[in-house]
Amino acid sequence: MTSLPAESAAMDRELEPHERYVPGHHWRNAQDEMEAAKLGMWLFLATEILLFAGFFCAYTVFRYWYPENWHAASRHYLNWKIGAANTVVLLLSSFTIVLAIRGAQTNRKGMMLVNLFITELCAAFFLVVKLGWEYAPKWQKGELPGGFFTYGGHDASHDAHAATEHASWFSTLLSVDHGHYVTNAYDHIFMSVYWISTATHGFHVFAGMIVIGWAMWMAARGHYGPKHYTSLENIGLYWHIVDVIWIFLFPLLYLV
């Protein structure tokens, strides 16, 4: 077999792992292997959507039964600004992971690593906001799911914020002007749906951080290149579904 000049030049240096990649013994070629892996990933994404469909279904049923209650609960308990910030961050991270895949396709390791790192930062930002600015205050105020719901309608921390004249622009941004709020009969179920769906989603973000971290390690060691980047692309697909699920959760819980 005659080799092209570019190929023989590549032979002179030590080959990167992605250039040496051979498909599994039961595959006829790398193309089939990659297509199968992507098919498997798409099927897995379908199962993810069906998993979250359970939450959306529960949401729909209770919203249908208690529409005013749910509207009021959504307005009072959730801060759309925090949700919006997280939405922007996740959308950005979906873009950067695509750039990372582009980096693999065009054999630019730096581009791949930088973009994976930004994706990882975005995911971390999302979780910090979720835990620090949403879950922690809700936990303190007793805005907990179902049987643990103890919130009485009196927002002590909100009053404290209003009392201090030193409220920074940041804390103003984070506070919602609730006015007077009287708790409704089914607030605790709204909070149940909120907690279980966002916590399950948050767990998926966390799992995403782990696999993206693994992808960074693989990328740094030269396992991804134009001819082989299957797992990177699959991680990208997974990350998009995490993003898309949030795109549905955000308006349903925070805005509608």
């Binding site: 599994g24 013994h25 039961h26 006829r28 089939d32 297509e35 199968a36 892996a37 098919l39 498997g40 099927l43 897995f44 379908a46 199962t47 993810e48 069906l50 998993l51 979250f52 469909a53 359970g54 939450f55 279904c57 529960a58 049923v61 209770f62 799911p145 179902g146 049987g147 643990f148 009969a185 089914y186 605790h188 179920i189 149940s192 749906v193 907690w195 279980i196 399950t200």
Partner: protein, 581 residues
């Protein structure tokens, strides 16, 4: 190819440590399949023990008999007196737990993985001419998830059992304090992941690893059935996962979604649950139908009648399965909803009947080889038809009001699941036993066991249709005296059934220890698995096989490795017509 790839996949390695490790960390689909088979058979045994316990409790109703001397004896409390944590368990409570454990073990540990994960794992890649499934590591992972989930389920048995029934209906399941519910539900949740990963693996394998030249309609019908099953596994199981997760949240965090005390809706749980579990009963039966297609075509030595109709009917069953879940709640919904779901349920009968007619048409005027596999196929046709035809009465709204939650439902379900899937599974096990163990089994004792199973099964369950129509409710540990003779027949049948199954076990053990070596193609099959060694070598085939004929071309082909003198001659006119092309 190096030497060790040419030996049997069962061959031990150089040292015993390496041999054990080769099983623990195997990526070979055949070894994983054999491990699944061992585990599911163990689960079948456990579930069977609980079934016999149930039938023993039902031998007599609970009643007090006073003799002439004035001494009172209480009958029909076989389960009374079990001690647990130092406390005596009442017969009713023990019965509740026994039927729950029978149900959960049989459904989640045995019947769902039995055909796809065990026989499917071993034979799907070989039938496609592939060396392995698409994702061998995921395959091993799903096996370990299965083991992990099973440990949860077994732990809940040791930890006091579960008395909710296998359906875990709320609000009882979310409020009962009995210890085992959370771990059993978690176990079923984990087992679901195993099922999903197996399904994803099989779909990708069928799409991407067919041997070159094998089109969709050149695939054996067993592969079609496993493919349809895999679609249902992938699309239905996540819903069960989230339902069971919400049930666990309900128990741990009192989220109130299913708990009426907190404003939730227990019927919502039933909708969620059956959205999975109705497709799940087709996950259980469709692979069995795939086995029957193989058994009948091979043992009738005839081209299967209506190949495409059988293949598409599997897909049709998969599609319809997602639209009928609410027929489990026909007694508790509005009339309009009921009418819709009743009509949709009747639709299931169409693809099912297509299959049955095609199998019977295949048998018509064929030269039947009556081995144990074929006997089971015929037993399947008999029992499954009864099971299938008792479905429409349950889908009929007015009739269902009367039959709902009676023994009629129990009998219908067992005629489909046991008379369908289990008989097909046993038939398939005998059909492929020589292939994956390399040993023949003793034909006549196996035939006798098959007949015992068939008679025992019908004795056990046929009478239950009458029990149901006369009003015997399911899940009761006792009953009125009028039902006693029918329950006695049923219990007698169950002992015969259990004896038949034990005889099968002995036949298999005898075969493993002293069976004659199996030839490559003992029954004269035309699919790829009969072209490899028995048992197959590690990579299934020495070279990638070449597809030269369809899976059921008995009218033009003499099966490989079979003596043509012992085989009905191919239709010479058709052979001549083919050679002209």
């Amino acid at each position: 190819m190096s030497g060790h790839h040419d030996v049997s996949f069962l061959a031990p390695k150089e040292t015993s440590f390496k041999s054990v490790w080769a099983w623990v960390y195997t990526l070979d689909h055949k070894r994983i399949g054999v491990m699944y088979l061992a585990a599911t058979l163990l689960a079948f045994f456990l579930g069977g023990v609980f079934a016999v316990v149930l039938r023993t409790e039902l031998w007599e109703p609970t009643r007090t008999i006073v003799n002439e001397a004035g001494q009172a004896t209480v009958t029909g409390r076989a389960l009374f007196g079990w001690k647990e944590n130092g406390q005596q368990v009442t017969a009713n409570n023990a019965y509740n737990r026994a039927f729950t454990l029978h149900g959960t073990i049989m459904v989640f540990l045995f019947i769902i993985p039995a055909v796809p994960a065990a026989l499917g794992n071993i034979f799907l890649p070989i039938m496609l001419g592939a060396k392995d499934v698409a994702f061998p590591r995921l395959n091993l992972f799903s096996w370990y998830i299965y083991v992990f989930g099973s440990i949860f389920a077994i732990w809940s048995i040791i930890h006091g059992g579960v008395e909710t029934g296998w359906t875990f209906y709320t609000p009882y399941s979310s409020s009962t304090n009995w210890g085992g519910v959370t771990s059993m539900v978690l176990g079923a949740f984990i087992l679901g992941f195993s099922s999903i990963f197996t399904g994803i693996n099989f779909i990708a394998t069928v799409h991407k690893l067919r041997v070159p030249g094998m089109g969709w309609f050149d695939m054996p019908l067993f592969v079609w059935a496993i493919y349809a099953t895999a679609i249902m596994q992938v699309l239905a199981t996540p819903v069960l996962g989230i339902t069971l997760a919400m049930l666990v949240f309900e128990r741990l965090f009192h989220i109130g979604i299913f708990d009426p005390a907190l404003g939730g809706d227990p019927v919502l749980f039933q909708h969620f649950f059956w959205f999975y579990s109705h497709p799940a009963v087709y996950i259980m039966i469709v692979p069995g139908m795939g086995i029957i297609s193989e058994l009948i075509a091979v043992n009738c030595r005839k081209r299967i009648f209506g190949y495409r109709a059988i293949a598409f009917s599997s897909i049709a069953i998969a599609a319809i399965s997602f639209l009928v879940w609410a027929h489990h709640m026909l007694t508790s919904q509005t009339a309009a909803l009921n009418a819709i779901f009743s009509a949709l349920t009747f639709l299931v009968a169409i693809p099912t009947a297509i299959k049955v007619f095609n199998w019977i048409a295949t048998m018509y005027k064929s030269s039947i080889n009556l081995n144990t596999g074929m006997l089971y196929a015929m037993a399947f046709l008999f029992c499954f038809t009864i099971g299938g035809l008792t479905g429409p009465p349950l889908a009929t709204l007015a009739v269902d009001i009367h039959l709902h939650d009676t023994y009629f439902v129990v009998a219908h379900f067992h005629y489909v699941m046991m008379g369908g899937t289990v008989l097909a599974f046993l038939g398939g096990l005998h059909h492929w036993w020589p292939k994956f163990t390399g040993k023949m089994y003793a034909e006549n004792p196996a035939r006798l066991a098959c007949i015992m199973v068939f008679i025992g099964f019908n004795l056990t369950f046929f009478i239950q249709f009458f029990l149901g129509t006369q009003g015997m409710p399911r899940r009761y540990a006792t009953y009125v005296d009028e039902f006693e003779w029918m329950h006695k027949i049923s219990t007698t049948g169950s002992y015969l059934l259990a004896s038949g199954l034990l005889l099968h076990l002995m036949v298999f053990i005898q075969s493993l220890m002293a069976g004659a070596p199996a030839p490559k193609n003992p029954w004269g099959g035309l699919t790829f698995e009969w072209e490899t060694e028995s048992p197959p070598i590690e990579h299934n085939f020495p070279h990638e096989p070449v597809i030269t004929h369809g899976p059921y071309d008995y009218d033009t082909e003499v099966p490989p490795h079979c003596d043509p003198r012992e085989w009905p001659l191919p239709d010479q006119a058709k052979v001549a017509a083919l050679s002209h092309h």
